[in-house]
Amino acid sequence: MDFDLPKDDDPRRLDVRAWFERHPNPTGRELFAAGYVVPHWPRPWGLDADTELQLIIDDEIKRAGLPAPSSVNPVAINNCAQSLLTHGTPEQQARFLPPALSYEEGWCMLFSEPSGGSDLGGLRTSAQREGDHYVVRGQKIWTSNAHTSKIGVLVARTDPTASKHAGLSQFLIDMDAPGVTVRPIQDMTGAAHEYNEVFLDDVRVPADRLLGKEGEGWRLSNLQLQTERAALSKPGAVWGQGPSARDLVKALIQTGHIDDPGVRDEAAQLYIEGELLRLLAYRALTDRMNATPSGPEAAVRKMLAAPHGQRLLDLAKRVQGQGGLVEGEEIFPLPNESRHLFDNWDYAFWFSPAVTLGVGTQEILKNVLGERLLGLPRDVDPTAKGPWIDTQRPELKPAN
């Protein structure tokens, strides 16, 4: 065990830094070619990097003033593209990975549906095989970046007579294909829209866009969500991004609010939690490097990180008093190197109710933990067994 982070004069760091000095404005393709987009992936995609090298590259990308690759094309880099290494054909790897990892083709996840976000396995969008195509019909919702993506990772039901989980498959579809319609959803922040509805009306998807085999959709989706949970549990308040407790304490000291004993105590609690989340994130990185698979442990961290982020932003908002209720007035010092909308305290606060909802609600995460890590009995799900089609009684129609 060794908590020492790579030092400023670490030789590998100097190498990376030199590369960025030679490439002050690197294109995505240059970054990808250098192996800096997914350093921990095997070659030729990444550098087979160990934890230290991964952290060094993260640092140096930040230092060069560039956004983290995971924030440029998050769905591909955090969640889905890795599935192509294990389940994709060589043709799929060659077609999809280079543009995804070069930031040239944005990806989005077509998972949630209006009938039920948490109960992903009950989804209704169908993909019916017709010759060398599948025809997709249905509706997706809460799709981040649908409007800017070229590729959608779709989970759809290929076999309605199988049980709810067994009948699902994954596809890589073109978001500009005929029949795909994207409609933005305005969220409660009132700022730029983050989410979309996606309507899929008889979208024809070539059969070679199937990822893995028919029926593997549930397993693949779960793996991808777990990786996402890992990515989202860094100490930043919003999905691991945005202000951290360190930023909060700094701002409270700067504004003098730290002198209020109640604020001081809350800030200390948040600071301690934030540091522990940071340690857990580092450990997860070590585990990933040691090829321990990203499992329900990621759910632990997301379970901890999401309410931590909410409480952190809540305190920042409270100390602003009435002034914090006026939109657009940023009266609380921004974190250093603010680059993302999430770095704005005000936006992050109004966005924060989402973090215990997205990518597994807090309730679902606790179920996963209780059942998979502690071995407690599973929740009752009368629709889990038997043909999915039999569970589609009309009285089960959702309220919204």
Partner: protein, 371 residues
């Protein structure tokens, strides 16, 4: 002694609810950029004036109905439940200011107009840093013969843009007093704030040598009396909204299916809502108690009002957050009313002192009692 609501109070409450259910439609607010203007903010004033709500707390001597804070609380809770967009909060604050601070002549001149709805009032008491307790103030009053002149500014003024006249807390000679300005007079500038709670209108007001009338030269004895009532208004709104939000969440939890059954079958949801039920019960008790104490001018009325605001603010914040969590992602959209309640709860919690400040004041009051 009787801790149950009287039939009269029930009737008052039920008729207010029936009226608001019929008249308030928040749908137009559920579009980004929409403001209270889109939901008949001023039209609503006319309607409630017809019902006589602005006259409730005005004594009969000034043509009002002379009802008590407890009577008023019945209606305030319903306004909070409906998130009624209407300049009634400002009006109440203005009326109380004149009632407590004004001369007999001022009351006779102004209150009958307030009763009919022809005079809309507002109270400008907060400074830019959010403090509302005197004597320091961002606004200063200076004598100009028999007249007075105001300079400086006030912040977070509720319903100022709709008001015909504004009562302003301004400093003169180390004391804070109350002064009345015409909202349209020269030297009065009103700026709408982009207040997150879009069901309400808050403003900053700036004064450049604006002509004003003296209400009371020193508000040290007056402001606490007014503030207790304003705390009651916020508390009652909180309690009413809280009740509504519990109903929304519960209804949704019964209908929304996941994993083959309503989500409300899950203890995670069920127990959370049971806890909120407890918050509702306590909030209602807190509000009715404070309202009764104020009605009866009991010595502990201030304590009761402070407790009610502190308790209901925390409860309302908690429940409105839970309301989004129960609805899931759909509850996070601008198209649903969930965020309106969430924002109202956040905003109310900061008005007239945050909960930590109020709780500290509770202990002050108890120590004073003990001493």
């Amino acid at each position: 002694m009787n801790f149950a609501l009287s039939d009269d109070h029930r009737m008052l409450r039920d008729s207010a609810r029936a009226f608001l259910d019929e008249e308030v439609n928040l749908q137009p607010l559920l579009k980004r950029g929409a403001t209270v203007e889109q939901v008949d903010y001023l039209g609503m004033w006319g309607k409630i004036a017809e019902l006589g709500w602005p006259s409730l707390i005005v004594p009969e001597a000034y043509q009002g109905l002379g009802m008590s804070c407890l009577d008023l609380a019945m209606i305030l809770q319903e306004m909070g439940r409906a998130l009624l967009p209407c300049p009634i909060s400002g009006a109440l604050a203005g009326v109380w200011s004149i009632l407590k601070g004004g001369s007999e002549a001022q009351k006779e001149r102004l209150l009958p107009m307030a009763v009919t709805g022809d005079l809309k009032l507002a109270l400008a008491v907060c400074d830019a840093d959010g403090t509302c307790d005197g004597p320091a103030s961002d606004a200063r009053a200076t004598a100009d013969g028999d007249d007075w002149r105001l300079n400086g500014s006030k912040a977070f003024v509720v319903d100022a843009a709709a008001a015909d006249m504004i009562v302003v807390a301004a400093e003169n000679g180390g004391r804070r007093g109350l002064y009345l300005v015409d909202a349209t007079a020269a030297g009065v500038e009103i700026e709408l704030l982009r207040w997150r709670d879009t069901t309400r209108q808050l403003c900053n007001v700036r004064f450049a040598n604006a002509s004003a009338e003296l209400i009371a030269a020193d508000d040290a004895e007056i402001w606490p009396w007014i503030k207790d009532r304003l705390l009651l208004v916020l508390s009652a709104e909180n309690a009413g909204g809280l009740q509504k939000v519990l109903e929304m969440s519960t209804e949704y939890a019964k209908q929304r299916m996941a994993f083959g059954r309503p989500i409300g079958a899950n203890q995670a949801i069920k127990h959370g809502l049971a806890e909120t039920f407890g918050l509702v019960e306590c909030s209602n008790a807190a509000v009715l108690y404070a309202a009764w104490m104020l009605s009866e001018a009991q010595p502990s009325a201030s304590l009761a009002a402070t407790m009610a605001k502190a308790y209901t603010s925390d409860a309302y914040r908690k429940a409105t957050h839970q309301n989004i969590q129960v609805f899931g992602a759909i509850g996070f959209t601008w198209e649903m009313t969930n965020h309106l309640y969430f924002k109202r709860a956040r905003a109310n919690a900061e008005m007239l002192g945050g909960t930590a400040e109020l709780r500290s004041h509770v202990i002050d009051l108890l120590m004073r009692e003990a001493a």
